[in-house]
């Protein structure tokens, strides 16, 4: 049975909150512990089900079944979270700006379950926190456009890259792994 430490750690790993040595230790643990690996897989099914990303035609009742199961196992859904790395970095600015309400909008936008905070540099996040809401939306849209504009180039590049020769379709993870517009 998994203890609470493992659970918290696994959730942090799945949310991409581990970095450097911590991340490496996490992966080593996954590699060496079959039980942990099984939990890792269920975690993703649960997370996707909760955020309704599962194909409901494939698993029509799964979402409901998991929701029911979660009532008996609330810690998986709401694990004690360690502070997000980016949150630590912008915390100072956020507190200073919170009276204006702008900071809250910024944090909510960047702190959704599937948001991709690291796609936006920290300096830029701090810039967002100082902006008015309409400015914020426009600035984020522009950053996304610039980054998404790389996709057609990446596809064309990948088809001719030597890396595609030895790794097959894997260089495309850079397109699939890019959560645009969030």
């Amino acid at each position: 049975m998994m203890n609470n430490d493992n659970r918290e750690w696994l959730s942090a790993l799945a949310d991409g909150e581990l970095q450097g040595d911590e991340l490496q230790r996490g992966l080593d643990a996954l590699r060496n512990d079959p039980e942990l690996l099984a939990s890792w897989k269920s975690y993703h099914v649960i997370r996707d089900s909760v955020s309704s990303n599962l194909n409901h035609e494939v698993a029509p009742q799964l979402h409901l079944r998991i929701s029911a199961a979660l009532e008996n196992e609330p810690t998986i859904l709401a694990p004690q979270r360690r502070p997000r790395t980016w949150l630590k970095q912008v915390a100072g600015v956020a507190i200073a700006a919170s009276v204006t309400g702008v900071a809250i909008i910024g944090i909510q936008t960047m702190n959704g379950v599937d948001s991709a905070p690291s796609a936006v540099p920290v300096a830029q996040q701090q810039e967002y926190l100082r902006m008015e809401p309409t400015q914020l939306a426009r600035a984020k849209e522009k950053a996304t456009q610039n980054s998404d504009a790389l996709n057609p180039y990446l596809v064309n590049h990948n088809e001719y890259s030597a890396n595609s020769g030895i790794q097959g379709v894997l260089p495309y993870v850079r397109i699939v792994g890019h959560k645009a517009g969030q």
Binding site: L13, A14, D15, G16, L18, Q19, L23, L27, L30, R31, N32, L37, W40, K41, H44, D48, S51, N53, N55, E57, T85, D114, A116, S118, A119, N146, S147, D148, A149, L150, N151, P152, Y153, L154, V155, N156, H157, N158, E159, Y160, S161, A162, N163, G165, I166, Q167, G168, V169, L170, P171, Y172, V173, R174, I175, V176, G177, H178, K179, A180, G181
Partner: protein
């Protein structure tokens, strides 16, 4: 199919040659991996990490008489996937995003399938056979590729001893830091892949546009562009013209490679809206550098350090006609 047969034959011939040195052992492992990745049927789940972020994805690969079919799909977050079927690539991304299709004219494996490349590569990279370990329930051989300068990245591969498939890979930047990692948590070789495993998720369709190759010219054709300061070891591999967006405007595409790392240069007519896109950007280990010239926009992109794409972007010039 004929090309892939010849390619397999060439690799097999190369693998049959006696290997005397450690670096030749390393390149034999890499050749074997390259062959396995393209010729086996398999399904795997892996984690991909970059910029401190982690994604879980599934990879499905099938081969039949018509060629290769591959599907890469995200298991976390909104549905995003890439399907490569018989040389055509389609990206299914969240709503409002474009879906890109491309028709490449070179076989996968370009340009690594020629053993002569290894001789050239040994001048710029060191190849090492390191330890064996267990991952995804299989024995894996660690092969390291270490660059001799800071103009390209290092790569680590862990290759399954049984199947020759890739189990884990890392890209190491010019400071020795791991910047991108990919590791399979499960990987199975199968006799046959069920057809439905290769179908895109219903409901993920969005906008669609196709990029058809207008013309392909090989490197022996006169080049309209010249890179004055090409980083050591890089050579022009291919020159082609194609469309890259829905408006049908031709883009000139030059591919430079040192045999392992590739850099693409895209040259297209400059537009009024281009001002915002100039400068450097990054996606995982891919760096891009966009330079605006009076008439053209030049985009340089590849799995190399920023200094390398910038050097190419800054030193490219149009030849007098």
């Amino acid at each position: 199919m004929q090309v892939s047969f010849i390619r397999t034959a060439v690799i097999s011939l190369f693998l049959a040659l006696p290997v005397a040195h450690a670096d030749e052992d390393a390149t034999a492992w890499l050749e074997r991996m390259s062959q396995s990745v393209h010729t086996l049927n398999y399904i795997g789940t892996f984690v991909y990490m970059q910029e401190g972020r982690l994604e879980t994805m599934q990879l499905v690969h099938a081969v039949d008489e018509a060629g290769e079919r591959e599907r890469l799909v995200s298991l976390s977050g909104p549905s995003r996937e890439v399907i490569r079927e018989h040389g055509q690539v389609t990206c299914y991304l969240p709503e409002k995003e474009a879906l890109v299709a491309e028709h490449p004219d070179v076989p996968p494996g370009f340009p690594l399938n020629l053993p002569t490349h290894w001789e050239q590569l040994r001048n710029i990279y060191d190849f090492k056979v390191l330890s064996q370990s267990r991952m995804a329930g299989q024995t894996a051989q660690h092969i390291a590729i270490v660059p001799r300068d800071k103009l390209r990245y290092g790569q680590n591969y862990w290759i399954a001893a049984d199947s020759g498939l890739l189990l884990r890979t890392e890209i190491v930047d010019e400071h020795g830091e791991v910047m991108e990692q990919l590791e399979f948590t499960s990987l199975k070789v199968l006799e046959q892949i069920p057809q439905q495993m290769l179908q895109p998720d219903a409901g993920s369709m969005a906008l669609k546009f196709s990029g058809n190759s207008l013309a392909e010219v090989n490197a022996s054709q006169p080049l309209h562009w010249h890179v004055a300061s090409l980083p050591a070891g890089f050579e022009l591999e291919l020159q082609r013209q194609h469309t890259i967006s829905g408006d049908g405007v031709a883009v000139e595409h030059l591919i430079f490679s040192d045999g392992l790392a590739s850099v693409s240069v895209f040259i297209e007519p400059r537009r009024d809206t281009d001002e915002a896109s100039a400068g450097a950007s990054q996606r995982g280990s891919v760096n891009a550098y966009t330079r605006l010239m009076p008439q053209q926009r030049v985009t340089v992109l590849g799995e190399v350090p920023l200094a390398t794409v910038r050097q190419i972007g800054e030193s490219i010039a149009q030849l007098e006609q």
